[in-house]
Subunit: 490 residues, 2 copies
């Protein structure tokens, strides 16, 4: 048929059916009797000023839950990117800026000076959803952290790394418990036993932030140095150990009885064994297929997601934490680097760019720096900081020196292990949710995490300045370098 | 220092500090006076049976919101994958299975026969979070749909495709409005004007599911045929037109006045122009850099996310729908195929495997097939189905024949355009949220969407069987084939 006929058809159909539609609408007005009386009355009153009507609708749209969530995401990501950028300019890793952005958006700054903005942007009713979404983000993030952990690399350097790692945990742990002894009566929330409080304080003193550490080493070009490889391995061993201790502490706090916690620990061990001895070998076979292929099929991705979520669910109902399950799920992924890279690529951006900043803001909303309003509280904070640095930096340096590192490398390792970063924030939020940490202690600990992370870069520079020495380049163990590259944002 | 000394250090430090920790714990017990009285009493009563304590904690953990959310995700994804697999076995696209899985998990099947399971798995308090997360999933999904839309391909085939597309919208639209005239008094919810109801019924009759259609063509190996390319282009033009009409209808329903809606439409047009004429050219320049590079930098990904969320937010507060903004954001992405592929790769799996099934279940939880419990209601459903098929299939076939396609191709295009798939479900949920669709109409429409999608494959086979003819292979327009490949899951 010719183009002319087609055009005629088009015009006919559009005008004809347009007329039909108009006729139906006119006819329909006679139908609506009882249906719309209430609305019609309401509309009639305001029909005079239709722009007012539009404005009312607009104001209503502004307060709809989905609109608020979208605005929150916009504000949070903008702040996170902006502060991340600014902190990078002053030579700090972007992640510190993102954490600071969260605190700025919370009651400490915006909430204190612009309460209206705060009430509009973060109404209490919206926080539950925000927290859920940030939890999903953390689960994906811990999954990535688990994947970036290279068990084999730890095995290779086992001797020195494990000694440094364990010493760098137990020394600050003991100091943290000692500190807890002095803080308990004044700062522990009611109903929390000394044991729970002290064990948790120990954890907060001994955590290391593997991703931030990897990022700092990468920025300073130290990833391939002997010291850098050693520090990365120690931090990985630290992560593993600290999360196991944390799981036990959570079990203890939740069950409230030191006998029933044994069941929890028993089940947890059984679960970890199952993951390492049954699930891991199965996945390993799968991974070997993907040494060259660049695209994972949908069913495989779905299966990996399922392992992640099921693992998180099991650890959550056993009574340790969902994040521990996510971490273990990452650890048991096929060790094939190519495979891990593909999987990390799939979830990295959504979780790190979109969801992780939400977590920082949840943390910031809980951090009330304003609570630290007496000299006494700041003195306490000083002690917390001192114990944290003395324990972690001191302990790691000492251990590194004893296993035979040079003074310069020992000091550098000590400084690096002292980086708390966002792993600390994750632990602090768990403690806050469990009711172990009071808002005052929580605020102090967040500040301590920021200060210890902030001091890492400058302290490394200082060491380099004081003890000039050439770096010994060594062939780094396979995964470690890839890891640092993956942690591009943190 | 020698290995011996290091080991000695290790043993000393672990045992020594272990002892210190033990001592602190013992000492700490004397501290806890008032702090833990309540807990100590509670624990003392139950200490006899520590396994009971563990069981209690376990039961408590099961009902924690995060645990419920994780379990929901596990069950939903398992069902979606299982049903998707089964439907593929019987030659249907997996997405129908996933939608059916959602209905099975809702009140129609599991809720009706196992109410306890339903109450445990989907407590009312958990639905808000589930819905928010599924909304985020839909936003990402509509973003992908927008990116898979190839404006240039529509332009090239503009003449025939636009006529078919518009005819295939306006014919079922007019029929749908006529149907609305008969359904209004019985089925429209109170307070909804005839105009809103009828305009919305028109939309539900005239929507086409671009992704499902692409998937079916791909499975039948027709993507490269002339007919397939034409159908894909028509469906894309359909999507664009239908969403614009939908945006106007939403604006009308929300403002409740046909004058103030003009403001909404005005702002929407201004926004779309801004996106197409200002944002798109800027992004286009960015895209040209990525013809070869395989990795997008973090700031760019963050910027793209921001465009997506800001666009969704703006359309949401203007009073059309956040999903329209997500769609437009996808449309204005750089047209460079490589760039779009990278971006789609980043978000496809998380959104389609993890989040989209949550949306199907939200839909399923709202679909009460049990409401259709009288012969009358089923007769009404029969009319709905008849009008839907007659309008969309009939209209598209007629238009395709008039613009010069063969009978066989015309019939095939008609069948393909009749596929409602999940785009229909998205529209239905918007109507349900706005209060335009009553639960009965909602259930009928969901069924209609399923039936029309289900019939597509067999009807195509039937046409091939009745009118055997060779396919004319043509060089397909660049993007279209890539699109079908991208839509691997739907």
């Amino acid at each position: 048929m010719s183009k002319k006929w087609s055009s005629l058809f088009y015009v006919l159909i559009v005008t004809g059916l347009g007329a039909v539609i108009y006729w139906i609408v006119q006819k329909g007005h006679t139908l609506q009797g009882h249906h719309v009386i209430s609305k019609a009355v309401g509309a009639a009153g305001a029909e005079q000023d239709s722009f007012t009507l539009f404005k009312d609708a607009f104001h209503h749209n502004l307060t709809e839950p989905l609109a608020i969530l979208l605005l929150q995401i916009i504000v949070i990501i903008s702040f996170a990117r902006l502060f991340g950028f600014l902190f990078k300019k002053i030579g700090q890793p972007a992640v510190i800026g993102e954490i600071v952005a969260g605190i700025v958006l919370g009651p400490s700054i915006i909430g204190a000076y612009f309460p209206d903005i705060n009430n509009f942007l973060f109404p209490v009713s919206s926080l539950v959803t925000l927290q859920f979404i940030s939890q999903i983000g953390l689960i994906l993030f811990m999954f990535i952290i688990g994947m970036e952990l290279d068990l084999k690399a730890i095995g290779k350097q086992a001797y020195g790394a494990v000694i440094i790692s364990h010493a760098s945990i137990i020394i600050p742990y003991a100091l943290g418990m000692g500190l807890a002894y002095f803080l308990y009566n004044t700062y522990a929330p009611d109903g929390i036993s000394f044991l729970s409080f002290a064990l948790f304080m120990g954890i907060t003193m001994s955590i290391t932030a593997f991703p931030v550490l990897a990022r700092i080493l990468q920025e300073k070009g130290l990833t391939r140095s002997r010291m850098g490889a050693m520090a990365l391995t120690c931090a990985a061993a630290d992560d593993l150990t600290a999360w196991c201790i944390l799981a036990a502490v959570i079990a203890l706090v939740k069950s409230g009885s030191s006998v029933s916690v044994l069941f929890t620990i028993g089940f947890s061990l059984a679960f970890v064994l199952l993951m390492l001895k049954v699930v891991h070998p199965m996945l390993e076979k799968l991974g070997n297929v993907y040494t060259k292929k660049q695209k994972l099929q949908t069913p495989i991705i779905a299966a990996l997601f399922m392992i992640l979520i099921v693992s998180s669910y099991i650890t959550s109902v056993i009574g340790i934490h969902a994040l521990f399950g996510a971490f273990i799920a990452g650890v048991v992924m096929p060790s094939n680097i190519n495979f891990r890279k593909i999987v990390i690529d799939k979830i990295e951006d959504v979780s790190i760019i979109l969801l992780l900043p939400l977590f920082f803001v949840i943390t910031g909303l809980r951090t009330q720096i304003g609570l630290l309003n007496t000299a006494n509280l700041w003195i306490t904070f000083g002690w917390v900081l001192l114990v944290a640095v003395a324990g972690k930096f001191g302990g790691s340096t000492l251990a590194a020196r004893i296993v035979g590192q040079s003074w310069k490398d020992s000091l550098s390792i000590g400084v690096l292990m002292n980086t708390r970063g966002l792993m600390q924030l994750i632990v602090l939020n768990i403690g806050y949710d469990l009711g172990i940490l009071s808002p005052e202690i929580f605020a102090m600990m967040v500040l301590m995490a920021l200060v210890t992370t902030f001091m890492t870069g400058p302290a490394l520079d200082l060491i380099n300045y004081l003890i000039p020495e050439k770096h010994h380049l060594v062939e780094h163990p396979g995964n470690v370098h890839a890891n640092a590259e993956n942690s591009t944002v943190l």
